[in-house]
Amino acid sequence: MKGFWHDAAEFFPILMNGVVLTIVVTIGSLLLSTVLGLVWAMMRVSGIKALSMISASLINVIRGIPIIVLLFYLYFVMPDLGVTLSALQAAILGLGIAYSAYQAENFRAGIEAIDKGQIEAAQSIGMGWWLTMRRVVLPQAVRIVLPPYGNVMIMMLKDSSQASTITVAELALQGKLIASSTFKNTNVFTLVALMYLTMSIPLILLVRHFEKRAGKR
């Protein structure tokens, strides 16, 4: 046990460099997946057949490709097509796209859960599609969507470790590098696990808060 604390003190600063990148990747891909997910969901509920079909197929294609393959594609294949991305850019883009499919389905479920009477009431006072969305549907859908959104945040935090496969030196990769040079597998990976857990706990509490609030009504 004494050995663990000694190692922890020594490796912690290096691992913190990884934590910074983990947070950057998580927040970056969270923002991207939210924006893209909203766009897919809006296309899906637009009532315009072509848009809805494009969005549905896109979501299925994205869902059908493993995140790691998407990352390899962006990082190793795109340069052949003339688009060179840094590892960090490819990671955020890949995770953002991969998760946009889940976000989209979550947002769509939230939008479709709103009572049709709400939409009719909005129309009856002359609101168009976009105004109805912005003033009536989305503000109510947010309450429904937030708890699963919080879960996605937790999953993204953990899945940001997949960025290590394309050389982003985030927490998991830093841990692996230290472990392979010191052979202190147990201590290093225990510390890495504890650090992921520490970052997850605030998010877990946030989800619980969202669920309580959603349950009130």
């Binding site: 009477g117 009719e120 009431a121 129309q123 009856s124 006072i125 002359g126 003033r135």
Partner: protein, 243 residues
């Protein structure tokens, strides 16, 4: 002001409106009565384009109702609607519900919308509930907020779709009272209702609809007191003397 000419409407195989021809004059109160499933609500929903119709023509002040045309917004701001289930926006206060249309559809200045919104809530007897959210209000109060929301658009006519059907019996009177005052002030109203007392006392004309056609129509008192058609007689007997 509102004209319906041979309007047909089907839901799949089921033809719910089989050629409705009717008109509503400015300042007139018209009640539509009839058994459930007869197409009463569908008529209202076609007038402000919540529902499309298959054949015939509906026009409001000479403007054709076409729910896919941009002009539908124009029609909806002139013809407001009050729903059976109120359909207030639950995430906004009573006052915010009322000023939503004026602020975001008509782009009125905020101060002006607020002032008018408060006055309208006072008019329906709910001045002190301005900051309450719909779930904190009784059904009757919610429906009166919904009427204020409809009035806030300064419409030329209001459509009422069974406005008291979802209310506890003791709350019906408040809502009907507000509606009666509107009628007295000269508002053009089309009311789908089962409240025969209201229809007899307040309406100028009554349309009796059954099976998607107008079976009988005429001045309210005459039609409700001495119905001519056997189906009207039968319906009124059941409604007025259910036992």
């Amino acid at each position: 002001m509102i004209e319906l000419n041979d309007v047909h409407k089907s839901f799949g195989e089921n033809e719910v409106l089989k050629g409705i021809t009717a008109s509503v004059q400015k300042g007139e109160v018209v009640c539509i009565v009839g058994p459930s499933g007869s197409g009463k609500s569908t008529i209202l929903r076609c007038i402000n384009g919540l529902e499309s119709y298959d054949r015939g023509e509906i026009s409001v002040e000479g403007l054709k109702v076409d729910r896919d045309a941009p002009s539908i917004v124009n029609i909806r701001t002139q013809v407001s609607m009050v729903f059976q289930r109120f359909n207030l926006f639950p995430h906004r206060t009573a006052l915010e519900n009322v000023i939503e249309g004026p602020l975001y559809v008509k782009r009125e200045p905020r101060a002006q919308a607020l002032e008018r919104g408060r006055a309208l809530l006072a008019q329906v007897g709910l001045a002190e509930k301005a900051d309450a959210h719909p779930p904190q209000l009784s059904g009757g109060q919610q429906q009166r907020v919904a009427i204020a929301r409809a009035l806030a658009m300064q419409p030329k006519a209001i459509l009422f779709d069974e406005p008291t059907s979802a209310l506890d019996p003791e709350l019906v009177g408040d809502v009907l009272g507000v509606m009666r005052k509107l009628a007295d002030d000269g508002m053009t109203m089309v009311v789908v209702t089962h409240e025969m007392g209201f229809a007899r006392d307040v309406a100028d004309r009554v349309l009796f609809i059954d099976g998607g056609v107008i079976v009988e129509q005429g001045p309210a008192k005459a039609l409700l007191n001495q119905p001519q058609h056997p189906r009207t007689q039968d319906f009124l007997r059941r409604v007025l003397h259910p036992l």
